[in-house]
């Protein structure tokens, strides 16, 4: 069992990387030992249903490309969708800070309405609490959802094997950098919009038995997700740096602040593991969907380095894609 070397929760524990995993395995699973929970998938598979939950505490609440409302719908819809299930019903729980502007709340509800229509889900139950000023950073939202599995053999990382190819539906790092820039703490201005979007319509168009596994790389980015996938497995993953879709602006910010685009959050991306023979046709289907215009085949599953995720650089050398540690920090020299 992993050790927790501290007696207080730190921000790093919420980063989505190794420290988050430590808390989950070391504390939550100590007391909650349900076998389905132990799978630690994006959603719980219960016979032919998938059940998922997510909480949203993003700051700032409104950012280029979206807001906490759109995020709340997309996050849970995508968690269900990547399990190969059609998202059907969502619940929303609001924790609102005293003094929050009603006009802001309305804007958020409009985003929620739009996103749920895009995803084809119904919001069927909810709850609202108000807390004193200073206790909720504006507004926090929890969304939970149920979906129906479509395939008799749902996507699972145990189905991945050497030879499979890795696809992504577009540019990485947009959400993470959009939030950073929107925080205005770093004196940076850039025209970057979050990619936050419900992906069910795209995923619905590609779902088939040759899609072995899917995941949405949110906090911790591709780096976190790939490491979760290879852990304890007898295969490894090799990504090709030259095939990674990264926009100029995201690359620029990463250069300047010393970030790795592989570690930045995405909220409108899905990484897909496909049987080699069918990869091209899945790619074509993705590209013909508005949410997949910049889709690429970015890597392959290999038996060369089991349990590791590796990047082949543009120079032909290799380096390990490490699990993100905690919160991303601008570096010094």
């Amino acid at each position: 069992m992993r050790g927790i070397n501290t007696d207080k929760i730190t921000l790093a524990h919420g980063g989505g990387g190794k420290k988050t995993e430590d808390i989950i395995r070391g504390i939550f699973q100590k007391y909650l030992n349900d076998p389905v929970l132990a799978e630690m998938d994006d959603g719980a598979v219960l016979e032919d249903l998938v059940f998922s939950t997510d909480s949203f505490v993003v700051n700032p609440i409104f950012f280029p490309g979206g807001d906490i409302g759109r995020l709340a719908i997309s996050g849970t819809v995508n968690d269900i969708a990547v399990m190969g299930a059609r998202p059907l019903y969502l619940s929303l729980g609001f924790i609102i800070e005293e003094g929050f502007e009603i006009s802001s709340l309305e804007k958020i509800l409009i985003s929620i309405k739009e996103a749920s229509e895009e995803a084809g889900v119904r919001i069927v139950t909810g709850d609202t609490k108000v807390v004193e000023k200073g206790k909720a950073d504006g507004i926090y939202i929890n969304s939970s959802g149920i979906g129906k599995t479509l395939l008799s053999s749902p996507p699972s990382r145990y189905r991945i094997e050497p030879g499979d190819l890795v696809l992504i539906n577009g540019e990485i790092g947009l959400h993470g950098t959009a939030i950073l820039v929107a925080r205005e703490e770093l004196g940076i201005k850039a025209d970057i919009k979050s990619d936050v979007a419900p992906l069910w319509p795209l995923i619905e168009s590609i779902i088939s038995p040759s899609v072995k596994f899917m995941r949405d790389p949110t906090r911790g980015g591709l780096a976190a997700v790939l490491n979760e996938i290879v852990e304890g497995m007898n295969f490894g993953i090799r990504l090709w740096e030259e095939k990674l879709p990264v926009s100029q602006e995201v690359a620029g910010i990463c250069e300047v602040l010393g970030f790795d685009p592989l570690q930045l959050a995405n909220e409108g991306k899905v990484v897909v593991f496909v049987k080699k023979e069918d990869a091209e046709s899945v790619l074509e289907k993705m590209k013909s969907h508005p949410l997949g215009k910049q889709a690429e085949i970015i890597g392959e599953v290999t038996d060369e380095f089991p349990g590791k995720a590796v990047l082949k650089t543009t120079l032909g050398t290799h380096r390990i894609i490490e699990q993100p540690m905690g919160e991303l920090l601008p570096r010094i020299c």
Partner: protein
Amino acid sequence: MELVREFRDSSRVNIIKEKLEGFAFKNEVKIMEVCGTHTMQIHRFGIHQMLPENVKLISGPGCPVCVTENSYIDHAIELARAGFTITTFGDMIRVPGSYSSLEKVRAEGGDVHVVYSPMDSLELAQRSGKEVIFLAIGFETTAPTIGATVQKAKELELENFSILAGNKLVPPALKVLVEDRNLGVNGFLLPGHVSVIIGMRPYEFITEYGVPGVISGFEPVDIISSIVLLLEMIEKGEARIINNYKRAVRDGGNPTAQRIIQEVFEPVDSEWRGLGWMEGSGLGLREEYSEFDAEKRFQVDVPPPREHPGCRCGDVLKGIINPPECPLFGKVCTPENPVGPCMVSSEGSCSAWYKYG
């Protein structure tokens, strides 16, 4: 700048790689780099994989966070606990001091902020009105930025801003390293941006030991061509300082930056993790700026420093051992539970080895 791409161009890299592969050294050749950004870039581009046989690239004390001694961190922690607002460059947050870290202190309620520029710290002081202390670490690239910030604070007559002085100088460290016969460094890859500030002259002395040095930029073409230039000199037994980053480094460095360092700071003796106390190797605030000296202004009790038994960061920083030779590496000391700074800092040797290996 399109030109940056030219220095990253893989076909150029391949041509220089071929040149690199042409070297055949019978005995081991040790090249040491002393710049955190070089450590990172070398790891990022997998340059170790391109080196010919018998050529070893070792990492020296190039990471400013790594060479900052425990007592400095302990001092910063006590200041945070005393209720001051502490501002720092990102990497410092996670570095373990003798008993705790700034990250832990923040979790306990300490007002600790990560800033990207010392000016952000000044602006925070202006906005918040609280007593703000900036942790001044870094080498000659960072020192003038802090100096300029202190000068601005003086100009604005700001009364709630101060720094905890901890900047260090590269040439004194190079002197200790080049004199170390056990270490046996055959050539130095000299830091890019430190050189932008100080120019070429401060490095000349190492040639008197028969050791060459090449000032290098950070792109793959820069680093590989610099290594080739070093190996050529080593092969011929030549010892010169070559400026291979001419597009950024002027022979005389940046005079404005040098003037600001001299106006605000003066050399003081300083303790480096791994290298110990070195005369004149640090920067302290001059008398005229003493009102910005947090150490003078605020008295806090700092517990006696202690090193973690078994931690060999010091030896790693001196280039004596490679990270995997430290008994704690990868077992007790990992990036998520670091014992020493070399594993924490994004520019630390152990951190680079852990990911790369």
